[in-house]
């Protein structure tokens, strides 16, 4: 085990994949000379050369679409999109092409494409660099949507994505890049579609993913001081969703709070809630609660951004309110 930052863990997986598989290459804006907008790919151009670490023009739709074409042509492209908001310029290629081609061609075509992008708020970057739109992508059949929350998963899920025969989107919450954790660099790919219990408890389940995991864990620590043991379930994969893991934790705690940085309306949290209603209604002592972002474009000043986002305090307050209700 090695202590690595999330950023270094992503780079570790990239380097391993580039070294091991000649079909793998990385392309995106400023991934080469600049070293990546979040310094994830620093050093890879020098190590693997410009054919395999390719700086692209600011043409999201076309370099993502070129990733689709290169995947059709037998390669294993990794496309980095600088942030989720920029990925909207490539929605055509992601939704109309990458997600459809296998089914629409009657199973003839495969698009083994990995698209990585930064997501989320918390860095005062306002309303065009801060949103959490992974829930939108999780709506799309044909896509696999991953949201690693720990350095070990940043590495393991990227390796898993590269082994998939279909397009995979990986959402890296930008506040996670400097966080540290233990990583086994000899470990292989993680399993896609499996949630992980990050903290065991019996009083309430906090279902979360990505950048909200540290907040949920902080909330759980505070609740523990009050004698409330919260279970924290990290989804890791947003499509497919590990519904059995959600229901298993619910069966233990009978209370669920979904913490999701996306907006509440039409959110991934809404999907989790619906699945609980469909599959675990009679296990619920109280209605499912959601802690999501306020329904506003992300504001710039820190106090407003903080107010707009899920916070440990709001999670704690939501759990307290839930426990006051009669079960």
């Amino acid at each position: 085990m090695t202590k690595l930052t999330y950023r270094d863990a992503v780079r570790s997986a990239l380097r391993e994949a580039l070294a091991r598989d000649p079909r793998v290459f990385l392309m995106g804006e400023d991934v080469g000379r600049y070293g990546g907008a979040y310094a994830v790919s620093r050093g890879l151009l020098e190590e693997f050369g410009p054919d395999r670490v390719r700086d692209t023009p600011l043409s999201e739709s076309t370099f993502v679409g070129a990733g689709v074409g290169a995947a059709l042509g037998g390669l294993r492209p990794i496309v980095e999109v600088m942030t989720v908001n920029f990925s909207l310029l490539a929605l055509d290629q992601i939704v109309n092409n990458a997600a459809t081609l296998r089914h629409m061609s009657g199973g003839q075509l495969a698009v083994p494409l990995v698209i990585r992008m930064a997501t989320g708020a918390g860095r005062q970057l306002a309303a065009q660099h801060s949103h959490s739109l992974e829930g939108w992508y999780a709506h799309i059949p044909g896509l696999t949507v991953l949201a690693p929350a720990t350095p070990a998963d940043a590495r393991g899920l990227l390796l898993a994505a590269l082994a998939e025969p279909d397009p995979v989107l990986i959402f890296e919450h930008a506040t996670l890049y400097p966080t540290e954790g233990e990583v086994d660099e000899a470990a292989g790919p993680a399993e896609i579609g499996r949630a992980a219990v990050r903290r065991a408890g019996d009083a309430v389940t906090l279902v979360t993913y990505g950048g909200s995991l540290p907040k949920a864990l902080a909330a759980a620590d505070r609740l523990a001081v009050e004698g409330v043991e919260a279970e924290v379930l990290d989804l890791r994969s947003l499509r497919p969703l590990d519904t059995p893991a959600i229901l298993a934790s619910l069966a233990k705690t009978h209370r669920v709070v979904v913490v999701d940085e996306g907006w509440r309306t039409g959110s991934l949290a809404a999907e989790v809630s619906a699945r609980i209603m469909e599959g675990g209604f009679y296990d619920l002592d109280v209605p499912v609660a959601r802690v999501c972002s306020a329904e506003v474009p992300m504001p710039y000043p820190k106090h407003l951004e903080d107010a707009a986002l899920p916070q440990a305090e709001t999670i704690v307050a939501t759990v307290r309110g839930m426990l006051r209700r009669r079960g």
Binding site: S61, A66, G73, L75, N97, G107, L109, G142, E164
Partner: protein, 324 residues
């Protein structure tokens, strides 16, 4: 003066006639409810696909639009598989999932059938990138219409292909209308070649109603691309004789204009030339028409006899390894 080998000429003629008759039949089948959805006919534009695709080898890749029956047939996708696809049958070239607009055949490197205008161009760039990175000397031919040049993906793709010197043959089928909007009504600069030149691509324009001219221009262009000179844009100036899709009151163009273009019908024109050169007798034409008719009858029979995909397979192939 004879400018073309007889056998080759008759081959070109047969391919154009096959597309024409196939589509005439498809239109009939549409009106009797055998074919549904959108049906975009290529009638009038046959010389473009037939001429251009002479320049390609079996290893080259093709990316086409939703008006792609011609390209599919010329590429050698059996007419029965194309017709069955339009019926929505499981023996269609996309298992019936795509219909007229989404013909695929991986074994022939025929990558669609794209119904988002401009959406195929980035895919073509990527296919060419894959060939380049794997050291394969192949061409990716990317067909698109004049409407696509208004899309950002056109500009981005030309730039990226030129920047990375990728072997893409961009084939613009300029039929003068983006659905119903004339080129001059949506382009400040209607000369499409100039747009390519702005990105450093060599470009050429050709009479898209003349199959031999298209073939010659496409061969020159493909040779340059295959030789490693980077991408090339070839604009074929052509005309769609029928409606944009099956229902179209054609308010945007005059009868006169349509008639003038029909006078330049690529099949009639080529037939006349071949007769003039003594390469085509009445009997040849009759035999050709009969063989095409038989092929189409066979295609319809295959489509009629084909099975429907079982409903249980609805979600098959959304993912390779799991159900959605």
């Amino acid at each position: 003066m004879t400018l073309v080998e007889r056998e080759h000429a008759l081959g070109l003629l047969r391919q154009m006639v096959l597309i024409r008759r196939f589509e005439e039949k498809a239109a009939e089948l549409y009106t009797v409810g055998k074919i549904h959805g959108f049906l975009h006919l290529y009638i009038g534009e046959e010389a473009v696909a037939v001429g251009a695709m002479q320049a390609l080898t079996a290893d080259d890749a093709i990316v086409a639009t939703y008006r792609e029956h011609g390209q599919a047939l010329v590429r050698g996708i059996p007419a029965g598989a194309v017709m069955a696809e339009m019926y929505g049958k499981a023996n269609g070239c996309s298992r019936g999932r795509g219909g007229s607009m989404h013909l695929f055949d991986a074994s022939r490197r025929f990558y669609g059938g794209h119904a988002i205008v401009g959406g195929g161009l980035p895919v073509a760039v990527g296919l060419a990138l894959a060939d380049t990175l794997q050291g394969r000397r192949r061409v990716t031919a990317c067909f698109f219409g004049d409407g696509a040049v208004a899309e950002g993906e056109f500009h981005e793709s030309l730039n990226l292909a030129a920047l990375w010197k990728l072997p893409v043959l961009f084939l613009c089928e300029n039929n003068l209308y983006a659905m119903g909007t004339a080129l001059a009504r949506h382009q400040a600069q209607p000369d499409i070649r100039l747009k390519a030149q702005a990105y450093g691509l060599p470009a050429d324009a050709v009479d898209g109603m003349d199959v031999l001219a298209v073939e010659a221009a496409a061969r020159r262009a493909a040779e340059a691309v295959r030789g490693g000179a980077g991408p090339f844009l070839l604009e074929a100036r052509t005309y769609r004789f029928r409606a944009h899709s099956m229902y179209d009151p054609e308010l945007y163009r005059t009868r006169d204009e349509v008639e003038q273009w029909k006078a330049r019908d690529p099949i009639a024109r080529f037939t006349a030339r071949l007769r003039e050169w003594g390469l085509l007798a009445d009997a040849d034409l009759a035999a050709l028409e009969a063989s095409v008719a038989a092929e189409i009858e066979g295609a319809i029979a295959e489509a009629e006899a084909g099975p429907w995909e079982p409903v249980e397979d609805l979600t098959k192939d959304v993912y390779a390894r799991r159900t959605p």
